[in-house]
Amino acid sequence: MESVLVLTHSDETGEQLSKGSLEAVTAGRELAAQVGATLTVGIVCGVSDLMARSLSCAGARLLVVSGAAFAQSRYASDAAACEAICRTTQATIVLAPHSSRFARVMAAVAHRLLGSIETHITAIGGRDRVEVTRWFYRQRVEAVVTREARPWFLLLDSGTHPVYAGEVAPVQAEQIVVEIPALRTTVLGTRAPEQGAIPAGTASDESSQRWATIRPDAKLLFVAGAGWTKKQPDGKIHVAEAGELILQFVHASGASLGSSKSLVDQGGEGAPVLPFLTHLNQVGQTGSTPRHSKGLATCCHGEEPHVVGWRFIGERRAISLDPNCGWTRGKADVVYVADAFQVMERVNSLLGVQVSCGVSKDVS
């Protein structure tokens, strides 16, 4: 008989469970009901009170590893915590969010427990046995797999399950004492990626820089392609204007900002660059594959690696000067054959007008 354990951790505030963790709780409840298994939820965090209470109605046994060492995301301490919870429960199936924190350690935990692991799970199904769906070749080939070996660890991609939300009430959670190994790594904290300076005299201020990353919570993904830095109809390059238009739009719309690899790489090749773009903005084969409900691509050309970055985007639109771009064929829902400079200037103007009229400017 199967037994299901969901491993969770705190979010960056340290005060509540991460969104991915709450999605994993939903998946765990569904899986436990499907296979008739008992459900346990393990929490790794600094202080656990509020997090445990938020799971009071989850119908699960609650185990907690807490303390200052577990407030931070670090391989040695997180692996020890997860290992201790797994050994306590002896669960046959372990679910966890595919967060940077758990993705760093969960294969090691599986190895220590002589188990197996699958990552980037997008769906869990099956009738007589548990079957999971994941992608291969960077989201280009989809496979459904199963394993006989137990324990079986499954890391769930974010956005694949609803966030668990239950009544917050007092609850009895079992505290697990973990022997922390010698810690050789000190976590200093999080930092924003290094970005080039925004050209002086533009409307883009520091707040715009903070918007300029992939933000999973935004509804819209805006992707800037290399075309923004190419010669325009007047025979000149207009990088500063391009940067300003893009940042104005991202700031006004609350969109997540993505980029093609070619645009990010241009800096290393001495070509004009948009200074606020880093590799963290990159979508596609060597970048991220975000899950936004809408995506707007501008000045991108249709390479397969770029399309890979759009695999999980719901509604897709594009602005391109090339009506025959391979991207447009079967990949986007709508392609506007137009000059992105002109269109985005008008879009920004419209968003600005609506802001001054009191209409919400934030689509996130």
Binding site: S73, R104, V334
Partner: protein, 270 residues
């Protein structure tokens, strides 16, 4: 105090990203049609790891770089013709199957065994580099498994930068949620670093470096041991291409103003 590093880079072979992939199911399980014939490249994120390793080794005289690669011997030889011109390294080839459908647990075991058998490798100076995920299996677990098998207790994934200090410690930037980096300081090797994109551009081809590398690469390839890959109970129910064809509406006859209105309405619609 550590004055030099022994850097082992794990990097696989992947089909060129521009190639069209067609999954097939053969007698040994799923695979990609004609994968052996497709143009191949060094796994992109692992290639970043190789360039970062070469850069770090150049800053620390006495450092050494090994490249551990698992794949069919013939394909490895073909790929080394170009990769060998990018950076100085000693190749540790493992003759095994190509493709992303092999089990990561078995691949990690083969890699860890190969690293453990490297002559002259000082584990107290070991930095195990690789891509944080491959472009084939894309699971992000092989390097982690290999590190655990080698008893390395400090691991970092999604690394974009490493700054080594004079006392042998180093600061690492790892990608975390929200488009940010987590900064950590590790006391020193041994450690595992699964690289994301890093900060270095692809080095230009250097034929002299290539010639020097090939003198050791060819004998190493001839001695490469063949390693079978166990499935460890992994079964594939189905392998397929996603249905992604959309009916695209190409709009050619609207002014910029009309398009802008259309876009804003679309953006604001629930």
């Amino acid at each position: 105090m550590i004055d030099s590093f022994h850097i082992v880079v794990c990097a696989g072979i992947v089909p060129d990203p521009l190639q069209t992939l067609e999954p097939i199911v053969g007698p040994t399980g799923p695979g990609v049609k004609n994968e052996m014939l497709l143009p191949a490249v060094l796994d992109p994120w692992a290639a970043s790891a190789l360039y970062e390793a070469a850069s770090l080794a150049a800053k620390r005289p006495g450092s050494r770089v090994w490249l551990v690669s698992l794949g069919p011997k013939a394909k490895l030889q073909q790929l080394m013709m170009s990769v060998a011109q990018k950076a100085s390294f000693e190749l540790v080839p493992i003759d095994g199957p190509i493709g992303g459908f092999t089990d990561a647990h078995a691949a990690a075991a083969a890699i860890a065994d190969a690293i453990g058998a490297i002559s002259g490798l000082d584990r107290s100076k070991l930095l195990l580099f690789g891509g944080w995920e491959s472009a084939t299996r894309g699971a992000g677990i092989t390097l982690q498994f290999a590190g655990e098998r080698l008893g390395i207790m400090d691991q970092f994934q999604g690394v974009d930068r490493i700054d080594s200090h004079d006392d042998g410690s180093f600061e690492v930037l790892e990608r975390v949620e929200g488009g940010k980096h987590q900064a950590s300081v590790c006391m020193g090797p041994p450690a595992v670093l699964g690289w994301a994109t890093g900060n270095l551009a692809e080095p230009r081809n250097n034929p002299q470096v290539g010639m020097a590398n090939m003198r050791t690469i060819m004998p190493a390839l001839q001695k490469a041991k063949s390693v079978p890959m166990a499935s460890n109970g992994l079964s594939y129910i189905s392998v397929s291409l996603p249905s992604q064809q959309r009916t695209t509406r190409v709009v050619k006859d609207l002014t910029a103003d009309e398009i802008a209105h259309d876009l804003v309405a679309w953006i604001e619609a629930e």
